[in-house]
């Protein structure tokens, strides 16, 4: 079983100091920080979780933040659920996308990556890392992808779903170029819902945390439409795009609509050679958590099957967050289960047969 969204973190952002260049180390030591000394610099979203967003039982017995203690993560997640490979996605690192200063943002992303490679990957062969980049600086992001993307422990390049523009936009071409060069998927994880990024919903800001969280699909929809329409998967035929923590039940509706509208207005995008649904099935992957919970459990799957989602979904727990899914939360049809829990992620990330 592969868990495609596991949040490892630091107890204090000061852990990044050895990995920051001196100019930006000073920012972290002396500069303004959103949560005081030891907090990570980012423009926090305006929706604050009223109970904090971590599982209360995930706080390590020895202290520190949930997700900061490898031993406790091993006990509570890796061993308990017999996880073969866990894809680490960090915690706050993707929030660098919210910062106005792209140089500082990229330096923080680099520091996270070096910290993760040094402090986490060596602890357990089951761990794989995500290479976080600041997407508001596509050239800097491409440099970082080329610098570290070839590390054997790196599974993907990671950005937040919150962005200044959708990820098919030619603005991001340097990132897609670099991903193609090093052979890594580009993943977007829910987040980056503040600062310089666009509003996470199309009709203006929601009010409450749970209201906003229920709309986590919106940016995912935009990125799916954009990457397909802009021809990302024609220009980089090996490209793969992963949406993490954006829900899955909406995907058939969007894919059907993309096909319908493309059939009417193909002329706008003559670089596409196939139907949007065909690009989606081959090139886009979605993690399952937080899986929608219909009243009738089996109501979830028929529409997904219609678009071939059995090839697209990959299990994720989101440990140690408040909306965590256990593996048994995913009651996929028997014929899909092995692909969704294991096979699709193995194929995407090129994992060995462990």
């Amino acid at each position: 079983m592969i868990d495609c969204d596991v949040h490892n973190t630091w107890s204090s952002a000061d852990e990044l100091l050895p990995y920051l260049p001196p100019a930006f180390r000073e920012y972290l030591v002396r500069g303004e920080l959103p949560g005081g000394r030891g907090s990570f610099p980012h423009a926090h979203r305006p929706w604050l979780h009223p109970e904090d967003f971590k599982r209360v039982d995930a706080v390590p017995p020895g202290g520190g933040a949930a997700g900061s203690d490898y031993g406790f993560m091993r006990e509570q997640l890796l061993d308990r659920y017999a996880v073969d490979v866990a894809i680490l996605t960090g915690e706050e690192a993707i929030e660098v996308s919210t910062l106005a200063n792209p140089h500082y943002a990229q330096a923080l992303a680099r520091a996270h990556n070096d910290w993760m490679v040094a402090e986490w990957l060596p602890r357990d062969p089951r761990l794989r890392g995500s290479l976080v980049v600041a997407p508001q600086d596509p050239r800097g992001a491409a440099d970082e992808i080329r610098r570290l993307g070839g590390h054997p422990g790196i599974a993907q390049v990671l950005v937040s779903t919150g962005a200044q523009r959708p990820y098919g936009d030619p603005f991001y071409d340097p990132i897609w170029d670099a991903c193609a060069e090093v052979g890594l998927p580009l993943a977007a994880h829910l987040g980056g819902q503040g600062g310089v990024n666009a509003n996470p919903t199309g009709c203006g800001p929601p009010t409450f945390f749970w209201e906003t969280h229920a709309l986590l699909c919106e940016t995912g929809m935009g990125h799916v439409a954009s990457t397909i329409a802009q021809g990302v998967f024609e220009r980089w035929p090996a490209a793969r795009f992963v949406l993490i923590e954006c829900g899955v039940a909406w995907l058939p509706a969007i894919v059907w609509r993309l096909d319908a509208d493309y059939r009417s207005l193909r002329k706008e995008t003559p670089w596409l050679m196939r139907l949007p649904s065909e690009y989606a099935r081959e090139h886009i992957r979605l993690t399952t958590q937080p899986l929608e919970q219909p009243r009738s459990r089996d109501a979830l799957w028929p529409a997904l099957e219609d678009i071939g989602a059995q090839d697209m979904l990959m299990f994720a727990s989101d440990y140690p967050h408040w909306d965590f899914d256990e593996p048994r939360a995913v009651q996929a049809p028997a014929a899909w289960r092995s692909a969704v829990m294991d096979g699709n992620a193995r194929a995407l990330y090129g994992l060995d047969g462990r």
Partner: protein
């Protein structure tokens, strides 16, 4: 289906290049087209939703491109359904966005100066 039947539609001279007519033949609505001196007949019912395909706009379209390019071509060969705008190549009946879909075509021949459609 019964045996094939041949029907005279009109004199070929009545349909100059670039023109189209929608005619009723043996109870069926059919579009006949002159594309650069060649004649084609399509069923006037779109395979998508049954809309009046042959009453749609005729023109060219953007050609398959490598990257973000907009080369315009196939002028006079592209018919867009009047309802939802699906593009079809008049000369083949094929839908451009989805080659697995085709509009129904009928043989249209010139015989003794007349256009003769075979249903």
């Amino acid at each position: 289906m019964g045996a094939e039947a041949r029907h005279v539609v009109c004199a070929a001279a009545e349909l100059p290049p670039g023109q189209r007519r929608v005619v009723r033949v043996a109870g069926r609505s059919i579009g006949i087209f002159n594309v650069g001196g060649r004649f084609f007949a399509l069923h006037n019912g779109c395979p998508h939703r049954g809309g009046p395909l042959c009453e749609g706009r005729i023109g060219g379209t953007t050609l398959p491109a490598d990257g973000h390019a907009f080369a315009y071509g196939r002028e006079g060969r592209i018919l867009r359904c009047a309802w939802h705008g699906w593009e079809f190549d008049i000369t083949t009946g094929r839908a451009l966005a989805d080659p697995s879909v085709s509009a129904r075509t009928y043989p249209l021949a010139v015989e003794d100066g007349n256009l003769v459609v075979t249903l």
